[in-house]
C-alpha cells in the first residue's frame, strides 16, 4: 500500500479498486447500529486545515472516529498558524506529538508534498490550492460505481471552472486510471493549457455542453465562483449560466440512466438549477455520505489495515 495520498496519480488501478472495495465494506457498516470499528484504536489522525471547509473536515473526522482513531483538529484560526508559524514548524510539532496521519487542506498547491518531506506519518491531501483533492475523486468514483455498476467505459463530462478546480484534476487522473473517458467542458478561458498532455492523453475538451450531453453517462458540475467575472474569465453570471449551466431542459438531453454530480458547495442558479440539484438523477447528497466511507477506506489502508 502507498504511504501518502497526495495526488490521485499516486493510485494505480489495483490500489484505487481496493480502496473502492474497502469503501463498500465501510459503507455496509454505516447501516449497523454500532457504526464503529476498533481498527485504528491508539492511532492519531490530525486534521490540519488551513482553509475553512466544514464538510471535508467533518467527513474526515467522522471517518477517523468510526475507525476508533484519536482525532486532533488543528485549524488555522485560533492556533499558532495565525501567529505566523511556518508549515515546517507546524509539521515538526505534529511529528513530535506522534501523528500517524496528517490530513491537510491548504490554499497552496503542493503543500501536502512539502509536509510529507517533514513528517514520518502518512499525509493525506484534503485539497491543496488549485491542484488536487484525491479523496473527493475517490468518493466520486465510488458514487458512480454504486449508481451505474462500473467505471470502466463510462463517459464522464466535467463541466465548469476546470482551471481552478482541484476536484477536476483528481477526477481526470483517477477516472482515466479506472478506464473512464473524460471530457472537460467549459469556456476556453477556464480550461487549463495542454490539459490532456498534462493529466491524461485520452482526455477530451469541448466548449459546447449541449453537444456533449447526449453521449454522457455522468455529468459533474463544478462550482464556479462569481469573482471569476472580475478577472474576465467570462462576461457575466447570466451568460455563464446560459452557456454552461445545467438546467432542466439541458438535463433532458442526457441519456435516461445518466447521473448528475456536484462536489459542493453549489451555486444554485449559476452552474446548476435547483430542479436539477434536487432531481432523482442528482447524487449530491449520496456523495456526502460516500465521502465518509471513502475516507474511512483511505485511512484504514494507509495506516496499515488489512483489506
Amino acid at each position: 500500500m502507498i504511504k501518502h495520498l497526495r495526488s490521485a496519480a499516486d493510485l494505480d488501478a489495483d490500489t484505487a479498486t481496493l480502496i473502492l472495495d474497502t469503501a463498500a465494506e465501510m459503507a455496509a457498516l454505516a447501516g449497523r447500529e454500532v457504526k464503529k470499528l476498533p481498527t485504528l484504536r491508539g492511532r492519531t489522525v490530525v486534521n490540519l486545515f488551513y482553509e475553512d471547509s466544514t464538510r471535508t473536515r467533518i467527513s474526515f473526522e467522522a471517518a477517523a472516529k468510526r475507525l476508533s482513531a484519536d482525532v486532533i483538529n488543528f485549524s488555522a484560526k485560533g492556533s499558532s498558524v495565525s501567529k505566523g508559524e511556518s508549515l515546517k514548524d507546524t509539521a515538526l510539532t505534529l511529528q513530535a506529538m506522534g501523528a500517524d496521519a496528517v490530513v491537510i487542506r491548504h490554499p497552496a498547491s503542493g503543500a501536502p508534498h512539502r509536509l510529507a518531506s517533514w513528517v514520518d506519518g502518512s499525509v493525506i491531501n484534503a485539497g491543496d490550492g488549485t491542484h488536487e483533492h484525491p479523496t473527493q475523486a475517490l468518493l466520486d468514483a465510488y458514487t458512480m460505481r454504486s449508481r451505474l455498476g462500473r467505471i470502466d467505459g463510462l463517459k464522464v463530462a466535467i463541466v465548469g471552472d476546470v482551471l481552478h478546480s482541484r476536484v477536476a484534476r483528481s477526477n481526470v487522473l483517477l477516472l482515466t486510471t479506472l478506464g473512464a473517458q473524460v471530457t472537460l467542458v467549459g469556456p476556453p478561458t477556464l480550461i487549463p493549457i495542454d490539459v490532456a498532455a498534462a493529466l491524461s492523453p485520452g482526455t477530451k475538451v469541448s466548449y459546447d455542453l449541449d453537444s456533449v450531453l447526449p453521449a454522457t453517462d455522468v455529468v459533474m458540475m463544478l462550482r464556479v465562483q462569481t469573482e471569476r467575472m472580475q478577472d474576465s474569465y467570462f462576461p457575466s453570471a447570466r451568460e455563464y449560466s446560459r452557456r454552461y449551466g445545467l438546467d432542466a431542459p439541458r438535463m433532458r438531453k442526457l441519456p435516461e440512466h445518466a447521473i448528475v454530480m456536484h462536489p459542493g458547495p453549489m451555486n444554485r442558479g449559476m452552474e446548476i438549477a435547483p430542479e436539477v440539484a434536487d432531481s432523482s438523477r442528482s447524487t449530491i447528497v449520496e456523495q456526502v455520505a460516500n465521502g465518509v466511507s471513502a475516507r474511512m477506506a483511505v485511512l484504514y489502508l494507509l495506516l496499515g489495515g488489512k483489506a
Binding site: 503542493g110 512539502r114 490550492g129 491542484h131 495542454d194 493529466l199
Partner: protein, 421 residues
C-alpha cells in the same frame, strides 16, 4: 605587493605558457616572482564579469552582504559584479549606490558596480535621479528595476532616451505584469498538472518585442535581462538583424534546468523568470553560441532559509549562482574557452563600459583573471558555499571545473580554491 609566476597555464585554451603578474598587471611571459603557481592543466580566463547579481545589502544582510557575495563571486572566478538595485532602501539615489560601491571597495574581493533603479522605489511611476547616480562616485551606467518590469511604455521610452546623455543603458526585466499576476511557474503542461498559476512565455516576449521597437525608435541601447524562452530568442534575432542596439543575457540555470523540477514543489526551483521547457533550453543554448544572446549573467539571488523552506506559492523566487556559474556553463558548452571568455567576461565588460576587465591577458593589461581546472569534478554541497544563503538548485549535482585561483588587479582573492580573505 607580491608578484606571481603562473607556470604552464593555458591562456584561454591556448598552448601552455608562463604568465608573470607584477604590480597589478600582466608583466610578461616569464621571469622571477615572489611566488610560483604550478598551473599545468589549468586554463586562465580573463576575470569573469557578472552583469546581474543580487547582493541584498542594504536591507537583507541575513541573506547576503556585499562582502559575502563578493567572496562567492571571487570563488566563482569573477572579478567584477553588478549589484542589482532592489535592495532596501532601493538603490535609486546617489547615496545608496555610493554606499554599495564603497562596501564593495572595502571588501576588496571583486569590483562591485552598483546598478541604479530606473524608477523611484522600483514603483514604475517616476524616473529616479539617473543622472545623479551616473555622476556619483559609483559611476552608474546600467539602470534596472529588475524584479519588476518597467511596464509603462511611455516611462520605458523616456528612460531609454534619458540615459543617452551619459551613455547609460536600461536593463529590462521583461515581464508584462498583467499576464503574470499570481504566476508561480512556466505556463504549460507541468503547471496544469501541478495546479500552479502559469507564467506564460508571451509575457516576456511581448515586452521584449515592444522594447526593441522603442529602442529602435529612439536610437537607444537596451539590455534584456535573463532571457528565458525560445520566442524571446526569435524576437531578439530579428531585432539584431535589423540593427537594433539590443544586448541580452541568459542565466546558467535557464541553460540547464527545466520546469519539470517544479514537480517536487521544492521552492529551491522557483525563480523569476521561471524554468522553462527543454525546447526553450535548447533554443537558449543555440542563441548563446550564435551570439543572439550576448552574455551569461548569474541572477545570483540569495534568500534566507525561511523564504525557501515553505510552500511553493509563498517562497521568494531566485537561486544563488555565482559559485556554480562557470561549472554550469562548462557542462553546457564544453571546453570552448574562447566562447566562454567572450560570453562571461569580455562582452559583459564591454556592454557595461567597464574598463580594466574582460581584457586579453597581454603584457601591461590589468591582472584580472581566474584559473580553472577543467578536469576537476565537484559535487555541489550547499553547506560549502561562501554565499550567506544556501538556495542552490544544484545540491548533489556533479559539475565539471573548479576555480583554482582568482586575481583582482594582481592580488589573489582565491588561491588553491579557497578565498584569501
Amino acid at each position: 605587493m607580491k608578484s606571481y609566476l603562473i607556470k604552464g597555464v593555458s591562456v584561454v585554451g591556448g598552448k601552455p605558457a608562463d604568465l608573470l603578474i607584477r604590480d597589478g598587471v600582466v608583466a610578461g611571459g616569464g621571469g622571477k616572482a615572489d611566488e610560483t603557481i604550478d598551473a599545468a592543466g589549468l586554463v586562465a580566463l580573463p576575470g569573469l564579469v557578472d552583469l546581474h547579481t543580487h547582493l541584498r545589502e542594504p536591507g537583507r544582510e541575513d541573506a547576503e552582504t556585499v562582502e559575502t557575495g563578493s567572496r562567492a563571486a571571487a570563488l566563482g572566478g569573477y572579478t567584477a559584479v553588478f549589484a542589482m538595485a532592489n535592495t532596501s532602501p532601493v538603490a535609486d539615489t546617489a547615496g545608496v549606490v555610493e554606499q554599495v560601491w564603497r562596501l564593495g571597495r572595502e571588501a576588496g574581493l571583486v569590483d562591485v558596480q552598483p546598478i541604479g533603479a530606473v524608477t523611484v522605489g522600483l514603483a514604475g511611476k517616476q524616473l529616479a535621479e539617473l543622472g545623479a547616480m551616473a555622476t556619483s562616485a559609483a559611476g552608474v551606467r546600467i539602470f534596472s528595476d529588475d524584479g519588476h518590469c518597467v511596464a509603462d511604455p511611455r516611462l520605458m521610452r523616456r528612460a531609454l532616451e534619458y540615459v543617452k546623455a551619459f551613455d547609460g543603458i536600461i536593463a529590462q526585466h521583461a515581464e508584462e505584469p498583467r499576464l503574470t499576476e499570481g504566476a508561480q511557474m512556466h505556463e504549460g503542461e507541468v503547471s496544469t498538472r501541478l495546479g500552479l498559476t502559469g507564467w506564460p512565455a508571451v509575457a516576456e516576449e511581448a515586452i521584449i518585442a515592444r522594447d526593441v521597437l522603442l529602442a529602435e525608435h529612439v536610437g537607444s541601447r537596451l539590455h534584456v535581462c535573463h532571457v528565458s524562452t525560445a520566442g524571446s530568442v526569435e524576437v531578439l534575432r530579428q531585432a539584431k538583424a535589423r540593427g537594433v542596439r539590443v544586448t541580452a543575457e541568459v542565466t546558467p540555470h535557464h541553460l540547464l534546468l527545466t520546469d519539470e523540477l517544479a514537480a517536487s514543489y521544492d521552492p529551491v526551483y522557483k525563480v523569476n523568470p521561471p524554468l522553462r521547457t527543454a525546447a526553450d533550453v535548447q533554443a537558449l543554448r543555440q542563441a548563446l553560441v550564435d551570439g543572439v544572446i550576448d552574455i551569461v549573467a548569474t541572477d545570483h539571488a540569495p534568500h534566507a532559509v525561511e523564504d525557501k523552506e515553505c510552500e511553493w506559492a509563498y517562497a521568494r523566487p531566485g537561486m544563488v549562482g555565482l559559485e556554480t556559474a562557470l561549472p554550469v556553463v562548462l557542462s553546457v558548452l564544453g571546453e570552448k574557452w574562447e566562447l566562454i571568455a567572450e560570453r562571461m567576461s569580455r562582452t559583459p565588460a564591454r556592454i557595461a563600459g567597464l574598463t580594466g576587465h574582460g581584457t586579453d591577458l597581454a603584457v601591461g593589461s590589468p591582472a584580472n583573471l581566474t584559473l580553472v581546472d577543467p578536469s576537476a569534478r565537484r559535487v555541489v554541497d550547499p553547506a560549502e558555499l561562501a554565499s550567506r544563503s544556501r538556495n542552490t538548485p544544484y545540491a548533489g549535482t556533479t559539475l565539471p571545473g573548479r576555480i583554482v585561483a582568482t586575481f583582482l588587479r594582481g592580488e589573489p582573492t582565491v588561491l588553491d580554491g579557497k578565498a584569501v580573505k
